[in-house]
């Protein structure tokens, strides 16, 4: 077990199974199938992401360095949250990027009864340590426990 200290972007506590992307998450490429074709599990459709391609993202503790790609990224995350197909939480090793931040803020301000805690700046060691299937818990003040 190991704990990591990050920065709270969107508050909340949650316990979920880790899903790890070592490369940037291309939000549009990853979520477009989930949004367009009713895939409630949000199976990742990004062929360029060998870590995530074909894996279920909804309900997982999505661990990643950052998001990349189309500037629809924030609204895609917003829609995923609105349709309840979002990850349980998003945990960034890097400081959050502008597209993911937009998605987190839009969901936080404009959607009621939707929770997707987001923590960033967890550090490179976090991404080295966490593996698919490990249990991740977000506690208070950006403390993330991986076991």
């Amino acid at each position: 077990m190991k704990t990591f200290q990050g920065r709270v972007i969107t508050a909340g506590t949650v316990k979920a199974q880790a899903l790890v992307s070592h490369g940037g998450l291309n939000t549009l490429a990853s979520f477009q199938k989930a949004l367009q074709f009713g895939d409630k599990k949000a199976t990742c459709g990004d062929q360029n992401n060998p870590d995530l391609y074909g894996k279920q993202m909804a309900g997982k503790a999505l661990c990643l360095p950052m998001t990349i790609g189309s500037t629809t990224g924030g609204l895609v995350l917003y829609c995923a949250c609105s349709m309840h197909r979002q990850p349980a939480c998003m945990l960034f090793s890097n400081p959050i990027d502008s597209l993911a931040a937009a998605g987190a803020v839009l969901a936080d301000v404009w959607l009621e009864d939707v929770s997707m805690p987001v923590v960033d700046s967890l550090g490179e060691e976090f991404l080295h340590y966490v593996k698919d299937g490990m249990t991740v818990t977000i506690g208070e003040n950006g403390v993330v426990t991986v076991e």
Binding site: L35, L75, M83, I96
Partner: protein, 424 residues
């Protein structure tokens, strides 16, 4: 964050609850990045990324309705990304049915919303709004609230405007209140290069491959690129701008680049030179082998790798007028060399409605038509994003299209061979 009285009043709800939520969104967004203030949006027009009436984006339409009903509409007029549908593009009855009744059934409704929110004109649908013909070309130093990754990176890098990589929805919110949080690429510090990319190839690098390599390496950071001016010259002429358009789009789709500098060419690099390079800069050398490595790393996800292509898309981002003319010449020459008169793979060249209008007024249009190539204002990406088109063997020289769809990438020269000789 420091807010002026005007900004604070909006946040306090003096212009209504919806406007207060718009301001709250921008303030929260800015605070994440340490923004200390909001600055005025100074560009004449905005540009939005969301152009498609995708049924699945119902939450976006609901939000737009909320904005319209509250009178929280854009202070600027805006252009928007390309339309997803065009009857000129080859399709079939089933695809048409899926497009109109399933995927893009909200297109007319959403375009109605865009009109109410401030669309520039009914044909202002393109990802290359900065083309002269379109009329949304920012000035150097303009502060923008744009989205569309390829347009943002072009506006920042080639035009010297200042814009963060805003997300869809966030783009219109900045325009509605007329302010954006001051951070990142809006600041002098945020525009410094933290990567030095040295081009050491033996020939002019393929723009899309080069951009892809840079994007994958530097991700969201700012690269300062040397060694390109030997291929592009030192003036931002049409050829250089077109090259940078395609290279930049690839940096933004395979990475998250919002700004690059090209030594002796882009405006800030010309003015400040090495002064733009931050301390502790990282170095990435790109030679022929590195570009080949990147090319070889692209996955081919066609079920049958040897399938005969059924469609070719060129123009993601949309082609420039000169690109359309150059490709008309190339296709004609390719066909002549092959002893043919028509392309052997259905081929679509995409460009903005305004560029196509000007192209259609030139003799090139009839010449291109004679080769069998179709022109369209469509967004190829939107066309490809469905299971039927996804299974179709489509080829492209767009790295962006390759990244987001099942389209297979070939270099420009390879595409020419494919469409004129069938890959022989």
């Amino acid at each position: 964050m420091y807010l002026t009285d005007e900004q604070q009043a909006i946040l306090n709800g003096e212009k209504g609850e919806t406007m207060a939520k718009v301001m709250q969104t921008l303030v929260k967004y800015g605070e994440i990045f340490g923004a200390t203030k909001m600055v005025s949006v100074t560009g004449k027009h905005n540009h939005l990324v969301t152009s498609f009436g995708l049924k699945a984006l119902a939450p976006v339409y609901a939000l737009m309705d909320q904005l319209i009903e509250a009178g929280a509409v854009s202070k600027q007029t805006f252009s928007v990304d390309p339309r997803p549908l065009d009857k000129n593009v080859p399709s079939n009855l089933l695809l048409d049915f899926i497009f109109k009744n399933f995927m893009y059934s909200k297109q007319d409704f959403y375009e109605g919303q865009l009109q109410k929110l401030g669309l520039m004109d009914k044909d202002a649908f393109t990802c290359t709004c900065y083309m002269e013909q379109v009329g949304n070309k920012p000035q150097k130093g303009d502060v923008l609230s744009w989205a569309e990754s390829s347009a943002v990176v072009y506006a920042n890098s080639v035009l010297g405007a200042r814009c963060n990589r805003n997300s869809g929805i966030m783009d219109i919110m900045g325009s509605i209140v007329g302010f954006v949080p001051y951070f990142g690429l809006l600041t002098d510090e945020g525009r410094k290069a933290t990567w030095l990319v040295e081009i050491k190839t033996t020939k002019k690098p393929e723009a899309q491959l080069l951009g892809s390599a840079i994007g994958m390496k530097v991700m969201e950071e700012v690269p300062f690129i040397t060694g390109l001016s030997q291929w592009l010259g030192t003036e931002l002429d049409d050829a250089a701008c077109t090259y940078l358009k395609d290279m930049g789009a690839a940096t933004a789709s395979n990475g998250a680049v919002g700004l690059y500098h090209v030594e002796n060419l882009t405006p800030e690099a010309k003015e400040q030179g090495a002064g733009l390079i931050a301390e502790g800069v990282k170095v990435y050398v790109i030679d022929d082998a590195e570009l080949q490595r990147v090319y070889d790393s692209y996955p081919v996800i066609w079920k049958d790798r040897e399938a005969k292509p059924k469609l070719c898309f060129m123009g993601c981002p949309h082609m420039s007028l000169q690109q359309l003319k150059d490709w008309t010449d190339k296709v004609e020459q390719g066909l002549k060399a092959a002893g043919s008169t028509k392309v052997v793979i259905p081929t679509v060249f995409t460009a903005s409605p305004a560029v196509l209008k000007e192209f259609n007024a030139t003799p090139y249009a009839q010449r291109l038509k004679a080769t069998g190539v179709i022109t369209s204002y469509i967004c190829p990406l939107m066309y490809m994003n469905n299971p039927l088109a996804g299974k179709m063997p489509v080829i492209t020289s767009s790295n962006k299209l390759r990244t987001y769809t099942t389209a297979r990438y070939y270099t420009d020269d390879e595409i020419l061979v494919q469409i004129t000789k069938g890959g022989k």
